[in-house]
């Protein structure tokens, strides 16, 4: 269908459209057709009104038209626009403007081969959805039992695991009695279910999606590919969670590690603790560190913001290679990671997948550049991530594990999720955030939970010699250990 819609659109756009005294002289578009299915679990119950098992289907995209008078139109594409584009032409023309900067339309170019499609997920979306319920219920059951795998079913093969997990889910929704009543003329079955108290601690969701994407231009650019995605979230007591997010289904080993991490940590965080006396440092776990990078670094590396004076950094800072992080730290955009959510053959503007260091050896090397401003900025366009991680930090001297980081930290907290990051001023880099469920680190070992306020200066934190990146199991993105220039207070 997408192929047909995209081809129809290309044919129509190439047919010499004209309105309002101008004609279409060039175009580019992206069209995506996708389907998804999601299943949720809330306080131990699958489904229900707010996490109802859900399926979605959608055809959408974006369009840019170049007009004979130099104006440009940009529009979102919905199903109706794709099927009858000429119906929208007048509106698109009316909204045309003359952009300050405009890139040439992408022409024919070779694109790298990247892995974006898992047939197993595609089958889940269009076929048997039972494994979605099973993986969630089975994981929840395992967590509710405190990770005791001997009390549930384990297996090594993918299919066997799904079946065993399905068996394991039964106690979650055990029916103890059914009655029938009638209200407003409707026949109603009322179910009384009883769940183990422990099961009510678990919430989560699994989402799978599959679709096809097409990017084309009037200058000859044409890319089409199939893509899938999977996100599995699990949380315990609203205290802590783990996520698997990829374009492929998780392996049994990955699921086992995720459950093990969550089991151990939720047991630790179930205990209320006190913030240790003395100076505290912080280990930001990968999700929190990535959120900090996204909030503070990305907008300040955006070349449009630099050109307009809205960024903390300037193009001169980039050209001079200013030191913005510890010398061993690199920060890159990578849209080629196999099955990464950020991965795709090209962006909607036809920029090929790639990997580029924005910061290397701690120094600014390259801004984030969209094609429109590449020429005035004097930098090549950068690949555009289509999902997380947007930025990936790395260091040859990264600590090997959270345990190693805690040992080096001595006293402080591990922060996995922060509240209110979106309220902080991205340009200043300073932050004051609540962490209701931080994990105490005392004498180099993880302890219980404590509510804290963490304040700091992210740009200084990145530069500080006491700062180190930390590798986490199953995470491409590292965490960040900050031992100075950060304040931790109990709340």
């Amino acid at each position: 269908m997408t192929r047909t819609a995209a081809e129809t659109l290309a044919d129509v756009l190439s047919a010499g459209l004209a309105t309002g005294g101008a004609s279409v002289t060039g175009w580019r578009f992206e069209v995506h057709e996708g389907q998804s299915v999601r299943v949720g679990l809330r306080h131990g119950s699958l489904g229900g009104p707010y996490v109802t098992p859900a399926a979605a289907a959608r055809l959408s995209g974006s369009l840019e038209l170049r007009w004979s008078d130099g104006a440009v139109s940009r529009a979102g594409l919905d199903r109706a626009a794709l099927l009858a584009p000429t119906d929208r032409l007048d509106e698109w023309r009316a909204a045309a403007f003359e952009p300050r900067w405009l890139a040439p339309l992408p022409g024919t170019r070779a694109l790298p081969t990247v892995q974006t499609h898992d047939p197993f997920i595609a089958n889940l979306v269009t076929g048997d959805i039972a494994p979605l319920f099973s993986v969630l219920a089975g994981a929840a059951d395992r967590l509710a039992r405190g990770g005791d795998s001997s009390r549930t079913h384990s297996a090594s093969g993918g299919e066997a695991t799904r079946l065993d997990l399905e068996n394991a889910c039964r106690p979650l929704g055990r029916v103890e009695g059914e009655t029938e009543c009638s209200e407003n003329g409707w026949s109603v079955h009322t179910q009384h279910s009883a769940r183990p108290r422990e099961a009510e601690r678990v919430s989560g969701s699994v989402v799978v999606g599959a679709g096809r994407r097409v990017v084309r231009s009037s200058a000859g650019f044409h890319a089409a590919w199939a893509e899938t995605r999977c996100a599995l979230d699990l949380g315990m007591d609203d205290l802590t969670g783990e996520q698997f997010a990829s374009r492929r289904w998780p392996t049994d080993a990955e699921l086992a590690v995720l459950l093990e991490e969550l089991t151990v940590r939720s047991a630790q965080l179930a205990v209320e603790d006190d913030l240790p006396a003395g100076e505290c440092g912080v280990v930001f776990a990968p999700a929190a560190f990535e959120a900090l990078l996204r909030r503070f670094l990305m907008p300040n590396l955006d070349v449009r913001a630099m050109l307009e004076g809205r960024a903390t950094f300037s193009l001169d800072d980039v050209r001079a290679g200013c030191q913005v992080a510890a010398p061993a730290v690199s920060i890159r955009v990578d849209t080629t990671v196999p099955y990464g959510l950020a991965t795709s053959p090209c962006s909607s503007e036809g920029i090929p997948a790639g990997c580029i260091d924005l910061v290397s050896e701690g120094r600014l090397r390259h801004p984030l550049v969209d094609p429109g401003v590449a020429r005035p900025a004097g930098f090549a366009p950068t690949p555009v991530p289509r999902g997380r991680p947007c930025l990936i930090a790395s260091s040859d001297s990264a600590l090997d594990s959270l345990e190693a980081a805690c040992s080096m930290l001595g006293t402080g907290v591990v922060v996995r999720e922060v509240m209110g990051l979106h309220t902080q001023d991205a340009r200043r880099g300073s932050f004051s955030l609540l962490v209701p469920d931080a994990q105490v680190v005392r004498l180099g070992r993880p302890g219980g939970r404590v509510a804290v306020r963490v304040s700091g200066r992210f740009f200084l934190d990145l530069l500080s010699p006491g700062t180190a990146l930390v590798r986490f199991r199953q995470s491409l993105s590292p965490g960040l250990l900050v031992r100075s220039d950060v304040t931790v207070e109990p709340v």
Binding site: G47, P53, C169, R310
Partner: protein, 499 residues
């Protein structure tokens, strides 16, 4: 295509759900939107988007639920979506998923089309909007050298049709429009930003000359505050008597109270054993918190996402927690009445209880001039009323920058772009982040100044769904020092990142 033209699709959905013995809630959404922006007098962005889609819940006779959405509203596609939702509901039943029977209590309200009282997008020439953007930039007057002005304008013409198996079929609009200035400059090397907006239901509400003047006045005042606080000292961490503007008061109501009273958030600290703690004191005497639709407001929602009329609810009445935001599916379990407080940003969303326009009301507010208040005027008002803290600085916070709530513990925080230490004048301080606990935040309300200002707008995110929100309070709200209402550690600016 209009949602009212989709009778064939509606009939197809009802018929198939009926054959399956299921109850159906069908939500049809039609959106046309136009977004424009101008940077320093030159149009630099314009984007128009439209879509039509259907989201539907099916509820089997035993209460098992399934949901499906599609952007194809042809009868066959809608039938396919109903079939898909039935399949999911059946899978939910097989897997012992949670069941809910509340829909069976509903009675039909018949077929209704609420009158359209705003100017539709297709009646709004884009040329008029572009011209108004130029006027809006001109209304800013002369800005300090080096200041860049981006003016954005969005017009969203949104219509919903909610159809239920009980015969309810209601069509209504939730239009919104905003004009916003974003001013940026570099001050001694540090980027600063300031903004001001006006909002309403349509272009007339935001592009009329008097509204452009209001937006310009707000942006200019915000710029003044941003400039003089950029290099000011930080507020020392601690507890203070606070004066907050109406936008921060809205943030307080939204984060500290509103989210925690939503009937699906049973883990909220304002719930006990799954039921809202009605009767508990949460605010000072004379202080109320109200949520409800306001016609013409940016976040107006006359009908909830399940087709139930949205009611105005007093969550806190004279300091006492009296009601919650009750959605069909969870209100009874939470011990509150169904108030139609259910929203979806998009047909693809599974709706949940959400706020619309939330406001803090205080009995006997003190007089205060209408319009924008310079910090010195705020100081004079508070001083004149004898409300300055005699022991330590009274801190005025202005320039709401968003917030967040954590229901289980009741933590909340929100950020202010600028702060002032009030005394004989108003001494600039850097912006600050205020945090506290819901159970005590409003107990410290001492006084309010001025008439109600309910146009503080924002986007509220919950479970990945972003809906427009709004609210406010009196022009100023005074909160006494409280050990549980705290400004965090210094957020001193960073000057030393350069290598």
């Amino acid at each position: 295509m209009d949602v009212l033209d989709l009778d064939h699709a509606v009939d197809a959905a009802l018929e198939l759900a009926g054959v399956g013995g299921a109850y159906l809630i069908l939500r049809l959404q039609q959106v046309e939107e136009r977004r424009l922006s101008m940077l320093d007098g030159v149009s630099d962005r314009a984007r128009s988007t439209a879509w039509l889609g259907a989201g539907l819940h099916v509820i089997l006779a035993d209460g098992s639920l399934g949901f499906a959405s599609t952007d194809d509203c042809a009868p066959d596609a809608i039938r396919a979506a109903v079939w898909q939702a039935l399949r999911l509901a059946e899978a939910a039943r097989v897997h012992g998923a949670e069941r809910n029977h509340e829909v069976w209590r509903l009675a039909s309200t018949g077929r209704r089309v609420l009158p359209t009282t705003y100017r539709r997008l297709h009646d709004t020439p884009i040329g008029d909007q572009v011209a108004a953007l130029r006027d809006a930039q001109a209304a800013l007057g002369t800005l300090p050298p080096g200041t860049s002005a981006r003016t954005s304008h969005a017009l969203v013409d949104e219509r919903w049709r909610i159809v239920r198996s009980d015969g309810t079929d209601v069509t209504f609009a939730t239009p919104r429009a905003v004009l916003r200035h974003d001013l940026t400059a570099r001050l001694e090397g540090v980027p600063i930003r300031a903004g001001g907006n006006v909002s309403g239901a349509d272009a007339m509400a935001v592009l009329a000359p008097e509204r452009l003047a209001v937006a310009a006045a707000r942006a200019r005042l915000a710029l003044r505050c941003a400039r003089e606080t950029a290099h000011a000292p930080a507020v020392q961490p601690g507890n203070y008597r606070f004066v907050v503007d109406h936008a921060l008061a809205k943030g307080l109501a939204h984060e500290a109270i509103g989210h925690l009273c939503e009937s699906d958030v049973s883990e909220s600290i304002l719930f006990r054993d799954g039921r809202l703690r009605r009767g508990d004191r949460l605010a000072a005497d004379g202080v109320s918190v109200v949520d409800g639709p306001l016609a013409g407001n940016y976040a107006d929602q006359p009908i909830g996402a399940n087709g139930i009329e949205r009611q105005t609810v007093s969550l806190i009445t004279d300091g006492i927690l009296t009601a919650g935001l009750g959605d069909l599916f969870s209100a009874r379990r939470a011990g509150i009445r169904v108030s139609g407080a259910c929203r979806a940003a998009n047909y693809r969303d599974r709706p949940a209880p959400r706020m619309t326009n939330i406001r803090i009301l205080a009995r006997n507010p003190l007089p205060c001039p209408d319009g924008e208040l310079e910090p010195e005027a705020v100081a004079a008002l508070v001083r004149g009323a004898g409300l300055l803290d005699p022991r330590r600085p009274t801190i005025y916070l202005t320039g709401y920058r968003g917030g967040q709530a954590h229901p289980r513990r009741g933590d909340f925080l929100f950020a202010a772009g600028a702060a002032y230490a009030l005394g004989s004048g108003a001494a600039p301080r850097q912006g600050a982040t205020l945090s506290g606990l819901s159970e005590s935040a409003l107990l410290s309300v001492l006084a309010a100044f001025g008439t109600l200002r309910l146009d503080a707008i924002g986007t509220c995110s919950k479970d990945g769904s972003n809906v427009s929100g709004s609210g406010g309070s009196h022009g100023l709200l005074v909160l006494d020092a409280d050990p549980r209402l705290t400004i965090g550690a210094s957020t001193d600016m960073v000057a030393g990142w350069q290598g």
